[in-house]
């Protein structure tokens, strides 16, 4: 039939355009300065600092011109997905640990092993971060900053309630008891903390303290249903006893955090969020250790909070590697960027950066547990971001009392396994 024939012709034309898009890109002239497209996420403050660092890079490398492109985190990933699918990924891109495997395994990223030792020196990276950008033996990203799990709290709230401040060796029972005491002593005006089952990484920390992993080496869930049920039950009890901040209060104040509004006495989270909280509240905040039932094992590791990758399609991998090298090793770059992107990932830059206030507190905290920090686990499996979102959502429904613990556990396992299998 005529219509059908026309339809298939159009379809063929379309898929041609579509397939061709993946190998697009004009060839640049060989001579003359090389232009690198560099994309990153961040805000206006970071934009100013990165531009300054790029200027410095360009004076040091007059043959390389860098054109930056920046968006806010969520928008950045949306754009990155479109650019990459359309065959137009930038030369150098900022990478998140959660997305690393997703991008690396699909052949989007360049293996930087080929540049190591020539244009890229990774030898000065902190011990815990070495190899953090590796996926299946290839080096697909280099960390520029790291963070770890911690407990941010208000010492004043603790002393007011007559609870001793947390110190190394405190257990999850101690933590729950402290929250209960604080909540009771204020009559519910301030809660002892947020419900820690709302955050996936609290489960990871508990697992690691037991010598287990969130994801096994072959990319499966590192825990079973009873273990997750135990975790959820802890939170369910805390919520039912009204010891922790009720979930609806937390939802109401989004995009702010409860700590910033003095609604809770402390919370577990990434240590670099300390700087964010400190900027938002007048209450003095401190960083303390994570509770653990196993004194020999804090379950913590230095996680690359931000990495840099090179696109597999880049025509200038050498120059791209040079730019990454500059961002992680150059003391001048370290000085300009300071702790804006987190505490720097190399010893050299950590020494070059003068840290003050909350930034110094974060660095001191990491120093204090340095010997207990383990090497980062392999990059999480494909779909880890989806699984984390599912966890947050299901935990929220549980806290609202819309589903039971058993339903929550089943739902999570169904969704997680479906994601991991596909």
């Amino acid at each position: 039939m005529g219509v059908m024939k026309r339809f298939t012709t159009v379809l063929a034309a379309v898929s041609l355009v579509f397939a061709g898009a993946a190998c697009g890109g004009d060839d640049e002239a060989e001579s003359g300065p090389v232009t690198l497209r560099y994309s990153w996420w961040g805000n206006a403050d970071r934009a100013a600092l990165v531009q300054k660092a790029i200027d410095l890079f360009q004076t040091k490398n007059p043959n390389i011109k860098v054109t930056p492109s920046f968006q806010e985190f969520e928008a950045y990933w949306q754009k990155m997905a479109t650019d990459t699918a359309g065959g137009n990924a930038p030369d150098v891109l900022q990478m998140d640990f959660a997305y690393l495997r997703e991008y690396a395994e699909r052949g989007v990223l360049y293996d930087l092993k080929k540049q190591e030792g020539e244009n890229l020196n990774t030898g000065d990276l902190l011990e815990g971060l070495k190899g953090a950008g590796e996926v299946d033996g290839g080096l697909y990203a280099v960390p520029v900053a790291g963070n770890t799990w911690g407990y941010v709290y208000s010492p004043a709230a603790y002393s007011k309630a007559g609870v001793p401040e947390p110190k190394l060796g405190w257990t999850w029972n101690d933590y729950r008891a402290a929250m209960e005491k604080i909540t009771k002593s204020t009559g519910g005006k301030m809660y002892g903390g947020g419900n820690y089952i709302g955050t996936y990484y609290n489960l990871e920390v508990q697992l690691r303290q037991e010598g287990k992993l969130l994801y096994t080496e072959d990319g499966k869930l590192g825990f079973d249903k009873p273990r997750l049920a135990k975790f959820f039950n802890e939170g369910k009890q805390l919520a039912d006893a009204k010891i922790v901040l009720p979930v609806e209060k937390g939802v109401q104040i989004k995009p702010k955090f409860a700590l910033e509004m003095d609604l809770i006495a402390g919370d577990l989270g990434w240590d670099n969020f300390m700087t964010r909280y400190a900027a938002a509240t007048k209450t003095e905040l401190k960083l303390g250790p994570v509770p653990s039932d196993n004194p020999a094992q804090l379950g913590q590791y230095l996680k690359p909070s931000m990495l840099m990758s090179v696109s597999a399609k880049s025509k200038h991998p050498e120059e791209s590697a040079k730019l990454i090298d500059f961002f992680i090793n150059d003391p001048g770059a370290g000085e300009i960027l300071g702790a804006n992107r987190g505490i720097p990932a190399t010893n050299g830059q950590r020494a070059a950066v003068k840290l003050e206030g909350p930034f110094a507190a974060v660095a001191a905290y990491e120093e204090s547990i340095k010997t207990q920090l383990e090497k980062a686990p392999p990059a999480p499996p494909k779909g880890a971001g989806t699984i984390e979102q599912a966890f947050i959502r299901i935990s929220e429904e549980l806290q609202y009392g819309r589903i039971s613990v058993d339903q929550a556990v089943d739902q999570f396992f169904t969704e997680a396994n479906e994601t991991l299998e596909s």
Partner: protein, 276 residues
């Protein structure tokens, strides 16, 4: 003043007070210290400050705020020109002319409204990438000149169909061609629709985030909504004060545009001496 007029004003103002309360809240919030914006229950700032506006107009990475305004203006104005012209032409054809395939094409046009744009964006991107038009304004504008926004074509059709057919026929008797009818009869009578289209196009273009995000890479070319988003940062804390101050500044041109053009909505068919 007549009593009914007073009552009318009182009634409208009462409804308005409710409708505008949230906007008053935003304006008041821009004068609060950034940290106090979320969670404060009082409407008015306790210690008013202009610091939010100062940070908002500072610009981003040595790109001035004026640049973002300029980019937004260029995009919005060209969008208005393209959309009004192309939609009026297409609307006239659908509403007043009879030709083969009209029904099918009309159905096709409506169906383009039904598909969420998120699934179209990647194929569309691939086309523009092949044409080397990424990081230019072309992908953002070309659709406007080619009546790709079915909403407006449909709007024109609905309006033009209400214009009495007798007018065309008498003009035809006088020897006018299709262009003459379109230009001298339909366009003047469809003015409310043209103005409506212009207003919507301007506002939607001005507020569009997704299109510019996907197609533009160079910060120099960003329009305001992209710049606005740069005050948001999960890790180091968002600058809600500057964000809201900038949203308010960004509102000013749209309000002016609206105030200027909505006046033309007032005169309708009844004043142009038309008998139904």
């Amino acid at each position: 003043m007549k009593l009914s007029t007073v009552a009318w004003h009182a009634g409208v103002l009462a409804v308005l007070a409710i409708v505008l309360y949230p906007i008053v809240w935003v304006v008041a919030a821009t004068f609060k210290p950034s940290a106090d914006i979320i969670g404060s229950l009082s409407l008015l700032p306790s210690a008013p400050t202009t610091a939010n506006y100062e940070r908002a107009v500072e610009g981003i990475a040595s790109i001035s705020i004026g640049r973002f305004f300029w980019n937004s203006t260029i995009l919005a104005v060209l969008s208005v020109v393209g959309t009004v012209a192309s939609s009026a032409l297409a609307g006239y054809a659908f509403a007043r002319l009879r030709f083969r395939g009209r029904g099918a094409m009309f159905a096709l046009m409506i169906s383009t409204l039904l598909l969420p744009f998120h699934v179209l964006i990647i194929p569309q991107y691939a086309v523009f990438q092949r044409l080397g038009l990424i990081d230019t304004y072309v992908p953002l504008l070309i659709g406007k000149f080619l009546a790709a926004e079915a909403f407006f074509v449909f709007l024109m059709v609905q309006f033009m169909r209400t214009i009495p057919q007798e007018l065309d026929e008498s003009a035809k008797m006088d020897g006018a061609g299709h262009w003459g009818i379109f230009w001298h009869i339909i366009l003047p009578l469809a003015r409310p629709a043209l103005i409506t289209t212009a207003i919507f196009t301007f506002i939607w273009s001005w507020n569009d985030f997704f299109g510019p995000l996907v197609y533009l890479s160079t910060p120099d070319k960003y329009p305001l909504p992209l710049a606005l988003q740069l005050f948001v940062d999960e890790a180091s804390g968002s600058d809600f004060g500057a964000l809201m101050a900038m949203s308010m500044l960004a509102l000013v041109p749209v309000i002016l545009f609206f105030l200027f053009f909505q006046r033309f909505l007032v005169e309708g068919v009844s004043t142009s001496g038309l008998k139904g």
